[in-house]
């Protein structure tokens, strides 16, 4: 297969992700962090009289450009040079999905679960709308997400970020094992 279309192994993707930490510091003293873009959107669109959103968001507009870059990176990697094959997940994960009737494993996301027609079903509403809400609420409560705490904070050896990373992994593992199966069987 053409090398441009093939997915990257973890030992390529990981270091490239890690290198954004020094890169952002070197080009402008910026801290990698993406959940702050959600706060930026709130501040720009509906700040209300909420103290969390009343600040000069335009001063931090660099991260909105960064987010635009993420969309473009997704387009280049997922559309222009899309991997024609399914994601190479383990056979036990494939069997787990099949046990819930998720049989179309093409692309990067299962369209059986993530589509406009699914948003209005209970299952789709829980997975997309409730799920998204929890991500936005939780990351701001924690003041950081996988990038800000998990990559940047841990790279800078900040112990609160280790607590955050352990907590969001714990949340994900607990939820995946004890709650998600009930939602997938809806």
């Amino acid at each position: 297969m053409n090398i441009l279309f093939a997915p990257w192994p973890w030992y390529i993707a990981g270091p490239v992700i890690g290198l954004t930490v020094p890169l952002l510091l070197l080009i402008g003293n910026k801290n990698l962090g993406i959940s702050s873009t959600l706060r930026q959107i709130c501040a720009a669109v509906v700040p209300g009289n909420i103290s969390l959103f009343n600040y000069d968001w335009k001063k931090d507009s660099w991260n909105l450009f960064f987010a635009a870059g993420l969309v473009m990176g997704g387009f280049i990697g997922g559309v222009v040079f899309a991997n024609p094959k399914n994601v190479d997940i383990s056979s036990s994960t494939i069997n787990y999905f099949k046990s819930f009737g998720i049989t179309d494993l093409s692309g990067l996301m299962p369209t059986q679960l993530f589509s406009w027609s699914a948003v209005i079903t209970l299952k789709g509403f829980l997975m997309m709308i409730v799920g998204g809400f929890l991500v936005g609420f939780g990351t701001r409560y924690a003041r950081g997400c996988t990038s800000g705490h998990g990559i940047l904070g841990l790279s800078a050896l900040q112990w609160p970020s280790l607590v955050a990373t352990a907590s969001f992994f714990a949340g994900g593992i607990i939820f995946s094992h004890f709650v998600l199966p009930y939602i997938l069987s809806l």
Binding site: V21, I41, I50, L70, S90, V135, A164, G171
Partner: protein, 136 residues
């Protein structure tokens, strides 16, 4: 346009998330079920790469492109680090995405992730609205 450089770094980061499949719902489920090393390999190479780079920046007292001293990132502890991260973890398991992957999912053609992202913005706004009533 001084912000274009951040857009370019974003493209590289987004490409790594997409081509590394770290924004794939399949990979996130597989990770939480411990059924592959892939995602753990990404974290276990990304963090040491970042840590090593930061220690070199510190050691050689690198300056920014404009000649300013580099400020080392600091994260303060508050209880929200635990409570908020647990809540975020639940959402991560549902959507298969943290905030960065929302953007790359949209770019990669999962247009419906716009609904998820919008809901995340509402979640952030709701946190801001009730922040003073929540334990910090």
């Amino acid at each position: 346009m001084k912000n274009i450089k951040y857009l370019i770094v974003g493209v590289v980061f987004g490409l790594a998330l997409t081509k590394g499949e770290a924004m794939s719902w399949y990979r996130i489920q597989e990770m939480f079920r411990f059924e592959s090393f892939h995602m753990f390999g990404i974290f276990m190479t990304a963090i040491p790469t970042g840590a090593l780079s930061l220690s070199l920046i510190r050691k050689w007292k690198f300056k920014t492109a404009e000649g300013k001293l580099i400020v080392m990132p600091e994260k303060q502890y508050h209880h929200g680090v635990i409570i908020g991260s647990l809540i975020f973890g639940f959402g991560w398991a549902l959507t298969g995405a943290c905030p960065g992957p929302f953007y790359t999912q949209i770019g990669s053609g999962s247009i419906v992730t716009i609904a998820t992202l919008t809901s995340a913005v509402i979640g952030t706004w709701t946190y801001g609205k009730f922040q003073k009533h929540l334990p910090d």
